[in-house]
C-alpha cells in the first residue's frame, strides 16, 4: 500500500500579533510550523505503515523554506518527502492548489501506485477545508472527509470502512480505494522523532519539483492564473460603535452588584429572558 500525505507549512497563528498603533500584522519572528491538523493525518498514515509496511510519501506545495516542514515529516518516519515549489505555483487559491497537488500525486503514482491521499481536515491559516474535497474530485477518487476512525482497510478487495463526523452523529461508511481522506483532529497523537529518524532527516535531500517535476504541461491551471478567486482588499476591522460602560465599585462584590443593577435597569427584557430561560431549563429537568 502507498499513502501520500499532503501537509502545509503555516505561520503559528497563535503567535501572530497586531501592532497596537498601526494595526498591521507583525509577522517577524512568527515561527513556521506544520499545520497541526496535518500531523493527525501523518500520524495515521505512519500507524498504517507500522501495521502493514505501507509506503508513506509526504508532499507540500510552498516556498523553498517549506523544506524544513518536510524534513520534519521524514524524521517522524515518512519514507519520502517532496516539495512542490515553482514561481508558477505562487498566488494559488484552493482550486489551483488542488491542481498542482493532483498532478504531483499522479506523477508519484507512476513509480508506486497510490491507494490513499491523507490530509488534515483544514489548515489553521486558511481554514477552508477545501483542498481534500478538491483533490478527490480532480483525481476522480472517493472522498471521505472528517474521518475520526479507520475501522479496516482490505488491500486485496480494496475495501475501506471508516467513521466520520457528520451533522448530529457519526456516519460509518464503506468505500473503496483509492480514496482521499481528511482526518479529524484528536484521534491520535503525533509520535516523537527517534534518533534514527532525526539522522535520516538531517541527511535527507528533499526533492524540489517545479512545473516539469510535477508533470504539469499546462500551467494555466496553476498559481494565480488558475485561481478564480482573488483578494480584492484586506483591511483591519473598524471598532464597533459601542460605548463601553465601565462599572466602578470599591470591591469586586460592589462592582458585580452595580453591574447587574445598571444592566437590568437598562435592559429589563434581558432579565426577563434570563428568568424565562432558567424556568424552561428547570421544567426540562
Amino acid at each position: 500500500m502507498h499513502i501520500v500525505v499532503c501537509v502545509k507549512q503555516v505561520p503559528d497563528s497563535a503567535q501572530i500579533r497586531v501592532h497596537p498603533v498601526t494595526n498591521r500584522i507583525m509577522r517577524q519572528g512568527v515561527p513556521a510550523i506544520i499545520n497541526p491538523f496535518d500531523l493527525f493525518a501523518l500520524e495515521e498514515a505512519l500507524r498504517i505503515k507500522d501495521r502493514t509496511g505501507a509506503r508513506v510519501t509526504v508532499i507540500s506545495m510552498g516556498p523553498p523554506a517549506a523544506e524544513a516542514a518536510l524534513k520534519k515529516c521524514v524524521s517522524f518516519g515518512a519514507d519520502e518527502a517532496i516539495l512542490l515549489t515553482d514561481m508558477a505555483f505562487a498566488g494559488a487559491d484552493t482550486l489551483a492548489t488542488t491542481f498542482v497537488l493532483m498532478s504531483a500525486v499522479r506523477q508519484i503514482a507512476k513509480a508506486h501506485p497510490v491507494d490513499i491521499v491523507f490530509t488534515g481536515k483544514q489548515t489553521i491559516d486558511g481554514d477552508t477545508a477545501q483542498v481534500g474535497p478538491g483533490m478527490a474530485i480532480r483525481l476522480g477518487w472517493q472522498l471521505l472527509t472528517y474521518v475520526s476512525k479507520i475501522r479496516s482497510i482490505d488491500t486485496d478487495t480494496k475495501q475501506i470502512v471508516i467513521e466520520r463526523r457528520a451533522e448530529g452523529g457519526v456516519q460509518v461508511l464503506e468505500s473503496r480505494l483509492p480514496c482521499v481522506i481528511t482526518l479529524l483532529e484528536g484521534g491520535n497523537e503525533m509520535r516523537f522523532a527517534d534518533m534514527a529518524g532525526m539522522f535520516r532527516a538531517a541527511r535527507y535531500d528533499v526533492p524540489h519539483w517545479g512545473v516539469a517535476g510535477a508533470g504539469i504541461e499546462d500551467t494555466s491551471q496553476a498559481g494565480m492564473k488558475g485561481s478564480p478567486t482573488a483578494v480584492a482588499q484586506v483591511f483591519a476591522p473598524k471598532p464597533k460603535e459601542v460605548r463601553t460602560l465601565v462599572i466602578a465599585g470599591n470591591t469586586p462584590q460592589a462592582k458585580a452588584e452595580a453591574l447587574l443593577d445598571r444592566m437590568f435597569a437598562d435592559l429589563p427584557k434581558l432579565e426577563r429572558s434570563l428568568l424565562d430561560h432558567l424556568d424552561a431549563l428547570g421544567a426540562r429537568q
Binding site: R17, V161, K238, P252
Partner: protein, 367 residues
C-alpha cells in the same frame, strides 16, 4: 462586522473578464441542508441573506432541495418559500436518502450546469464544506469559505465575500472574477434567522438525479447519533460565559462553569485557552471555532483578538471582565468590569445568584 463595513469604495479587481459562457448566469441559490428530517437552521439564515443579495441583483432567490423520496423533502420547498425563496429546485431520489459526497456533488453540479445561477451559498457545516468543496471543483469555480459578510457590487454583479484572514487578524474581501456561480459558505449563526412569512409560496422545478445506486461506490453502513448531552450546544445558547488566556490558570475555568451553572449558560473559550488544553476544543468560539449569537456574552480574561471577535460580536449584550481597561475587547463590549477575573467572576456569580433568588421570591409573593 456589519454589511456596510464590507462595502468599501476602494475594491480593486483583477482585469480578467467574466468568461463568455457565464454571462447569462442569473439568480441567487441557497442549498437547503437537511439530514434525518431536520433542516439545519443555517439554511434559513442564508435564505435571509440570499433574499437581500437577490434583491440587490434584481434577480430571483432559489432554494436547492436535494434528498430522498420522503414527502418531508418536498415540503421543504414550501418552507423555503416562507423564508424568502421565489422558487425551489427539487431533486428527489432514493440514492439521496443519506448524505454522500458523490451523488450529492453530482446532483448539485448538474442543477448548476442546467439552470446556471450566479451565486450559490451553503452552510459551513461538515456537510456543507464537503459538498461545497467537491461541487466547486467539479464546476471549476471559486469558493470562499466561512464568510462573515456578503454583499453585492452592483456595477458588475460580483459577490463580495468577506472573511477573516491571517489567523483572524485582518479581514479580506474575496471576489470571483472570471467564473460563475460565485460560491461561498457561511457558518451557522453568522446571519440572523429571517422572519417567516407563512403566506408566501413559490414554484417548484423538479430535476432528476440520473444516478443508480450501483454507480455509487460509498455505502452508509451505520449512523450513530450523538447523545444530546455530550456536545455543548454552544452555537445556539442564549447565554454564554467564556474565558481566555487572561484567566492565567486552567483551574480558573472552574469559576466560569460555576457562573454558567447559575445562568444556565454554555461555556466558551478562546483559541488560546483551547490550545493550552484548558478546555475541550468543542467549546472554542471564533473563526476556527463556533459562532455564537447569545442574548448575553460574558468574556472573562479575553483580549478581543479578531479571531475571537468574529465568533461572538453578534451577541446582543457583551460584558467584558479584564484587568486592562485599554484591552481591544473594550472596543465592542457594552459593560466592563476592570480587575482580576479570579475575584470578579465569583463576585458576579454571587450577584447573579442573589438577583435570581430575589426575582423568584417576588414571583412567589405574587402567586
Amino acid at each position: 462586522m456589519s454589511d456596510a463595513e464590507a462595502k468599501k469604495p476602494t475594491i480593486k479587481k483583477r482585469k480578467s473578464a467574466l468568461g463568455e459562457r457565464y454571462v447569462g448566469n442569473r439568480g441567487v441559490w441557497v442549498f437547503v441542508e437537511h439530514e434525518h428530517g431536520r433542516v439545519h437552521p443555517v439554511s434559513w439564515e442564508l435564505m435571509g441573506k440570499g433574499r437581500q443579495l437577490a434583491d440587490k441583483l434584481e434577480t430571483q432567490l432559489a432554494a436547492v432541495v436535494i434528498g430522498g423520496m420522503e414527502p418531508q423533502v418536498r415540503a421543504l420547498c414550501d418552507e423555503a418559500a416562507q423564508f424568502g425563496a421565489d422558487l425551489s429546485y427539487l431533486m428527489q431520489d432514493a440514492v439521496l436518502l443519506h448524505y454522500r459526497s458523490q451523488p450529492y456533488t453530482k446532483g448539485l453540479s448538474d442543477l448548476v450546469e442546467k439552470f446556471r445561477p450566479e451565486v450559490l451559498l451553503l452552510g459551513a457545516t461538515t456537510l456543507g464544506r464537503d459538498l461545497a468543496g467537491a461541487a466547486a471543483t467539479t464546476l471549476m469555480t471559486g469558493l470562499t469559505a466561512d464568510c462573515t459578510s456578503l454583499d453585492i457590487d452592483t456595477s458588475d454583479r460580483s459577490l463580495l465575500s468577506t472573511r477573516p484572514t491571517f489567523g483572524g487578524t485582518l479581514m479580506a474581501t474575496i471576489v470571483n472574477v472570471a467564473t460563475r456561480p460565485q460560491m461561498a459558505t457561511v457558518r451557522p449563526r453568522v446571519f440572523p434567522l429571517p422572519e417567516r412569512d407563512s403566506t408566501r409560496t413559490g414554484r417548484i422545478v423538479e430535476h432528476p438525479l440520473g444516478l443508480a445506486e450501483e454507480d455509487v461506490v460509498t455505502k452508509v453502513i451505520d449512523f450513530i447519533p450523538d447523545a444530546r448531552s455530550d456536545q455543548p450546544q454552544l452555537a445556539f445558547a442564549d447565554f454564554v460565559v467564556a474565558g481566555g488566556r487572561g484567566l492565567s490558570r486552567p483551574e480558573s475555568f472552574q469559576m466560569l462553569f460555576d457562573l454558567a451553572k447559575v445562568l444556565g449558560a454554555e461555556v466558551g473559550a478562546t483559541r488560546a485557552a483551547v490550545h493550552a488544553n484548558w478546555v475541550d476544543p468543542s467549546r472554542q468560539v471564533g473563526q476556527s471555532g463556533k459562532t455564537v449569537r447569545p442574548k448575553l456574552y460574558i468574556a472573562a480574561g479575553i483580549s478581543g483578538a479578531i479571531q475571537h471577535r468574529v465568533g461572538m460580536e453578534g451577541s446582543d449584550v457583551i460584558i467584558a471582565i479584564n484587568t486592562d481597561e485599554k484591552s481591544t475587547i473594550m472596543d465592542f463590549s457594552n459593560y466592563a468590569l476592570i480587575g482580576s477575573a479570579a475575584e470578579l467572576v465569583p463576585a458576579l456569580t454571587e450577584a447573579f445568584r442573589k438577583r435570581i433568588a430575589a426575582a423568584r421570591a417576588r414571583q412567589e409573593a405574587v402567586t
